[in-house]
Each structure stands twice: as C-alpha cells, then as structure tokens.
Symmetry: C2
Subunit: 495 residues, 2 copies
C-alpha cells in the first residue's frame, strides 16, 4: 500500500505514563508504551508507525515528560522500522494531564504551521493498522478541516465496562457522493457504565468507545479552549482559558526551554485536567467518527490475552511455559521457565526481577502492589535490571559483596560520559563490536575478546567506534558500587 | 547437652533420590536432601548432625549413587557445623531401592565391626532433634542389641493419608525399673489409608506412622534377609536371600570398586525392592519404638508450610514477597520479588531459573511437570543455574551470542583440573580471595581486583591458595561455549 501524505497533518503522540497498571511488565522508567510484547515491537513504535506515512515531513511529534525523555528517544532510535523516521521530542514542563499537554502542543504546532491539523494519539494503545485505519483518519481530517474537534469512537463488540462511551447524534454529511456520512454529532459523553448499562448500549447501538484519539486543527483546539473557558466563566473551576493562555506563553519559547525553571513555574499553576473534561464535553463543534477497528487501551494485564489466540481451554501462554491442565489463564514469561498446574482464571507474569500472580478479576489491583512497593521504596517499580541510556543500555547480571557484573551495550557512534569513580575499579571485556577507551591521558582501541582495566579514580570514557553494537561485560570491584558514585567531566547529553 | 557415644553405633544415611517431588527446589543433581530452606541448612546436613554425636568415631556413612557422589561430598563439606565431621561416602553400584542398599551397607558394616548396630536414616526428612530424639534412639538401640529389627514409628497427630502406618502389638519391656516398655511388637504394616480409615486409626490409637528409620545389628539385618528369603522360598519372587548373597559379595570388595563394572553387573541382577517389603513385613523379630517427635517426610511442596508459622490468613511467605489479601497460600521466593494478589490455597515457588504455580491440592502433580520437562530434555530438571563441583561451584549469570559470564567459587586449598578449551578464550577477574593460575608454562598469583587472560587452546588451571573462598568472574568468549569443550590433562578427582 502506498500512502499519500495529508497536507498540514501533524501527529502528536502522547507518551507520558506512570507504568503502574501493567506492572511488572511496565515500570516508572519503562512505562506501558515501551512494552514490546505485542507483535514484537513496542506500543509507541506501533503508534509512530501508524501515523508517520500520513504526516507532513517532520510532522511527527512525541510529547513526554522530562524524566522519560532520554529513555524514549533512545528506545525509538533502537526500534526496527523507525531508522529513517524524523521525530521531534517535546517534554512538557511538568505533568498536568491531557488538557494542558494538548494545549501546549496545539499552540506550538499553530506557530509552526497556522493550518496545522493535529492527530492526537495515545502511545500505549493497541490499534489495527491498514486500510480501515486510513479511511477513518481521512474522514476525521475532512471534518477537522471544517473546524470540528473530531474524536474517534470505536465500534463496541462486547459490553465493556472499562471504557467511557460516546453517544452518536445526527450524521454529518460531506463525503464523496453516495458515501455515508463522514461522522456524527456527539450527543453525549458517557462515563464507564455498569454491566447492565453496557449491555443496553450494545443492544441499542449508536454508542461508541471513547478512544482518546482526537483530530483537529491546532487553531481550533486553542479557540475551543478559550471558548470553553468563556462559556464556563461563571464557574470557579473553569480553567480552560487559562490553560490556553499559559500554553501559548510556554509555546512561544523554544521547546528546549520548556523544562527550564520559568516555563515549569508557569505550567505548574495549571490544574491537572483531561482534555475531554476541559473542552470536549462543553464544546459545540465536537464530532465523532466511528471506527470499526480492533482496539484496546491495554488498561490492565488482561490485555496479555491479545498476544496470541487462546488454546482450547481458554489459556494464553507466552514464553517458556509448561502447563498441566490449566483453564482460562494467562501465563507470560519473559525468559525463564514457568510451570503451571491446574490454574483457573489466573494471571502469571514472570519477568527477570519480579513475578506477579493474581486472579484475572483482580488485574486492576496491580496498582495496590505498586503502591505497596512504592511505600517500601522497592527498586522493582522504578526500572528492570536493565536501564536505557541515551547512548544505549546496561543490564545488571549480579551484585555480590564487593563486586557487580553488568553488560553494557553502546549504540554505534555513541559514547558514555567522560567520568570517574571514587570507590570502584572496572574491568571491561569486549565481547562484541569495537571500543575506543579513554583512560587518563591514554586513548586506545579494544576489539572483541580483548579487555581493559580502569583503576579507581581514573578518568575514563567508553565509545563505540564501529558501525554495529558494542557489547562490553563490566566487572566492577569496590566497596561502594552505587550508581551515585560518578563524577562526570564531559557528556554528550549535558547530564 | 553433652552426648555419650553409643558403642558400635554406625549411622547409615540414605542419600539417593531423584529430585522430582520437590521441583523446582530440587533437581536431579540437587535432590531434596540438598534443599537448605528449613532452618537454613540442608536436610542431609540435619540428618548427619542428628546422628553424629551418638555414632562411633568414623561411624557416619552416607550411601548414595555414583551420579550424586561428588555433589554430595562437596555439599556436606561446605555446610556449617560439619567441618570436623568425618564422613565415609559410599556409592551403591546401581540404584536398586532400599533392600539392596541396606543389605550392602549391613554386609559392609558387619565386616568393619561384627557388633555394629546400624541406624538407617533417610537424608531428606525433617525430624525434631534433642532430648526426645535421644531417648527414642537409646530405646531402639537397646532393642536392637536384643536382636530386633527396630523401626521408629511416629505418633500421629492428624489423620494423614500420605503415610503408611504401623499397628503396634504387645509391649516389650526391658527398660529401667519403673519405666514404660522399650517398644512394641509390630502387629501389622498398613498401606496408606483413605481419609476415613486414617481418622479411625487416630481415634483408636495404637497406630504409628512408618518413618523409614531402622535400628538393628548389621548381622541381624543380614540374617533376617537370609531368613526372609528362606521363608518365602516357595514363592518365585522371593529375592531376599539373593539380595543378602550379592550384597555380601559386593561388600567384600573395597568401596572404591563398588561402582566398577563387576560389582555393577552383580548388583544389577537384583530386584528393585524396598526393605519394608523384602524383610520387615515377613520378619518375626521386628519391633517398633514410638516416637512423639515433629517429623515430616517432605513428600511434596506442601512441606514449605513448615518453613515458618502461617499468618492470620493461613499464608506462609518466604523471601521477598508482597501480598495483597491472599489466603491459605504458600509463596516461596529464592531471590526475586514475588507479588501476589487474592490467591486462595495456591503454591508459588520462584527460583532463579524456574517458577511453579499450582493449587495446594495438586502439589503431588509436580511429577507431571517433571515428566513433561524430561520428555522435552529441559535443562531445568537436571540442575539450577549453579552447579556444585568437587572443588566448589559455578553459577551461570548469562549466556549471549558468542559469550558467557559465570561466577566461579573455589574452596580453600582446592583447584580445578588442568585443562584447555578448543573454542573459547577466558577472562578471569578475581573479586575475592587469592588465585594461583597456571597458563601454559607460566604460573602466577592473582589477587582481588586483578585479572588474567587465558587464550583459546592454552592449557590452564585455577587454584585457591588462600584460606578463604576464591571467587572469580569468568567471561568466556568464543563460538562454542558448551561444557563439553574441555580437555582434561590432570585432575584431583580423576575425571
């Protein structure tokens, strides 16, 4: 399929996220959108790939928070199929839910291109690609060009109680001759229903799942924010106009300044409010385009059922699993052997540093585990044993008394900061690729099956001078092995 | 408490075992008796510690099979409290259940000491130590001195259906004046009962659990084997006399020859039959000494309940466990975080390379998992990521394309074989202790935070010359990293 780019189309991929509902597969520094278990690539890679063919050149923008910026940049850089894709990374000054985030992006895009049409895509959903998606997108764009705020509403095929619904109103015509309506007015936004209500919605028809996807002119987003503020001006809590104002003020600065003190100060005065609440529910130009696409918000570990078809007993197994007679269960293993016997409607998720076992109907309570772990300052909620870095990643293999072993992967052309450690020496063994090592006044190259020793206190740097991955096994020896024992003298990422 | 040694007392600790019922905590090369989760030391260490104070000097004999001999020797050597304990290791020619094993040991011990009294102890049970144990043992020895085959029968406190029972008959007097009987005649051996029958046994009294522990003169064991054979001589299947004969023939050879071809050939003709069936059930000199001791045969993972007291919801948690509202469950974690939510009567066992999840009432079905794994040639049934060696142990940290990382622990004074590898080079970093390294014609010493490189093809050896543990991180680089790529030139264990 060849795609035609859509003039003025800009993608805004929303990539914040706290990583609690999908634990232990997601972590604070590796939230849901990084999870690569569906079809082998991460959810955010799928989101970016989904919109890139239609966007303007240079029109793919990823909005995240400062904490995730490096992780995200490096993650997408390493994903297959995105090598040639030019992505702009934006960090919001401080996390403030979707209304301030979308407002900021709208103000920024309107500056870049007064005719910009923005497609707001969550980065952590599953969505069907292909022709049906393209048709939905093009209908939404046509309505957006008419000045509408266009939401995408998924056609429900089950009485789901976990999503909000949109009740479609009158049809909006305007497509090609003889084609159906482009979309519908929005009669109402409906909160997550109970089971009975959800069944009624499904039977009656005309209800769609609220996907959180939005297509609109950037200028219309800003105008509607202002209008929503004006309309609600009698209410003390009406924040929309202020959101538009502050967003425009921040957007007038270069994106690199958004996370500096001033912008952060401005932004932190804004209320944490979703765009749906602040704008869509009160706007008079909202439309909905029905989308009959496979979709999931990957809202809990139950989404693991979508990894592969269930067996005849209703089980979904992924990874190295040996089962004796379980039913209706989800068993996911990242790398180790998981053996299960006679489970019923259970979820087992096994990762290199943490395992979760829970009944399927308690999947939402993973947040209770995360709360307990956070209260105990457990490292398992922050990150896995691996850590993404702007230059690549490292994985801790073991930590014993007085020593620690890691593998360090450095991307082609990248290098770590020029640094030293007060309390540990490091032995580096290159097992793949070619390294250039700086050690005090020396600079020398080290190839596969060669090693180098960095004594405690020596200023040093590791660089990948090859055009493939550099993989080093590092054995650190010393009393204090914490990540905090590092002095940086020079850094490509100004850390 | 000071103990008086009992003259002529020899302990025979039975330490074969296939490691299936306690998987993933036990493995083929690390069966149940190696498991160190109860009170921090292994079951076999507890067995040896339990009998050593009463045995003759040099009177502790451990009988195992050839495959486990090295593992066992090294395991016991490394256990706390056994440093000064002189243990004789015996390997049976080929595994043939307890009748041939006990016969062989009896023949051997009768040779060493015609008055030998043997105490046969399983190595994989939990048993209360202390004064009550000593009293039971001394009563049994008095009866054994009178020519009895003395079994120990545990007083039941619940209607257990998983054990065989012994019905006690007439009391046998002979203790100190005014003391109760030393033991009882055996009225009957009873197979594992159903629930109702077990409840009746408990209500009626006079029934004891058959523990598999035996105290008898070695000469009486041999005589009763012969007699049992004679008594059953009209039956084609009566094997006891032949067992006694072959056992005596093997025992006439030095133990080092038992696993050589000739003895193996003799032994392999014997039927695989338990001592209970072959002798006790037909002998006329059997007695039982009631033992009111805490005891468990650790017959399934349910024994994990004995690691620690249950919480108020009936859960037993061990290791790094975070739980939200489970009931009646057992959660054991060796080193990683395990999070559980709302489990009911489930077992979760998490080890470095395998996790098991099963309902408590399916605990016995672990053998089905082991069968499935064996059929698939899965390494997880053979051993963990760690492997005991006569000189210490190693643990695999990771294996990637073209490299592998291990930690190698060498016990004080020990050394690996003089060896070479055709396909891999090795980088050794000493992180603890002091090594002497042989590399082709060189011999040099390497201390903590120092390293050495062993190029592919070089003959080399690693030795611990200190008096504490030597720990080395080994990074191997090469295309073929299998354990099979090793040529041994000289080995302290003649491998």
């Amino acid at each position: 399929m060849t795609h035609t780019r859509i003039p003025h189309l800009h993608a805004l991929v929303l990539a914040g996220g706290s990583g609690t509902r999908f634990w232990p597969l997601s972590r604070e520094l590796s939230p849901k959108q990084f999870v690569s278990i569906f079809g082998g690539v991460s959810l955010i890679t799928r989101a970016v790939t989904r919109i890139t063919p239609y966007a303007e050149n240079g029109g793919v923008h990823v909005l995240t928070n400062e904490r995730l910026l490096d992780e995200l940049r490096n993650h997408l850089k390493s994903q297959p199929g995105l090598e040639g894709c030019e992505i702009e990374y934006l960090a919001e000054p401080t996390p403030r839910n979707t209304a301030p985030a979308i407002a900021l992006a709208a103000a920024y895009l309107a500056q870049l291109d007064p005719d910009a049409i923005m497609v707001v895509l969550p980065s952590d959903h599953l969505l069907e690609d292909g022709e049906r998606w393209e048709r939905v997108l093009r209908s939404a764009v046509l309505l957006a060009e008419q000045g509408r705020l266009v939401t995408l509403g998924l056609t429900p095929h089950r009485p789901e109680t976990g999503y909000g619904y949109i009740r479609a109103g009158a049809p909006i015509v305007g497509g090609a001759d003889g084609a159906g309506p482009l979309g519908f007015e929005v009669a109402a936004f409906v909160e997550k229903p109970d089971r009975e209500t959800a069944e009624r919605f499904l039977a009656e028809g005309g209800y769609l799942w609220n996907s959180g996807m939005l297509v609109a002119r950037a200028s219309v987003v800003l105008a509607e924010l202002a209008a929503a503020g004006a309309r609600a001006a009698t209410l003390e809590s009406a924040p929309s106009a202020e959101i538009a104002l502050v967003a425009s003020k921040v957007a007038a600065e270069a994106p690199a300044l958004w996370t500096k003190e001033l912008a952060r100060e401005w932004f932190s005065t804004l209320p944490s409010v979703p765009f749906d609440k602040a704008v869509l529910e009160v706007s008079e130009v909202v439309a909905v385009v029905p989308a009959d696409l496979d979709w999931s918000d990957v809202g809990s570990l139950l989404a693991l059922e979508q990894i592969s078809p269930a067996d005849e007993r209703g089980n979904v197994f992924s990874g190295h699993v040996v089962d004796i007679g379980s039913e209706g269960s989800i068993v996911y293993s990242a790398d180790r052997l998981v053996a299960t016997i006679g489970l019923k409607d259970l979820i087992v998720v096994d990762t290199p540093d943490a395992t979760l076992v829970a009944p399927k109907d308690r999947a939402q309570d993973v947040r209770l585990v995360v709360d307990a772990l956070r209260a105990a300052d457990a490292p398992e909620i922050i990150e896995t044993r691996s850590s993404l870095r702007p230059w690549g990643s490292w994985t801790r293999l073991t930590k014993g008394p007085g020593f620690q072993v890691k593998t360090i992967d450095v991307l082609p052309g990248q290098r770590l900061s020029l640094q030293s450690h007060q309390h540990r020496s490091e032995h580096w063994i290159v097992v793949e690729g070619h390294a250039r090592i700086t050690r005090a006044a020396e600079v020398f190259d080290v190839g596969p099956n060669e090693s180098a020793y960095i004594p405690r206190g020596f200023v040093h740097r590791l660089e990948n001078i090859g055009d493939v991955l550099l993989r080093v096994v590092e054995v650190a020896v010393g009393e204090d092995l914490s990540e905090g024992d590092i002095t940086r003298y020079e850094d490509d990422w100004a850390r």
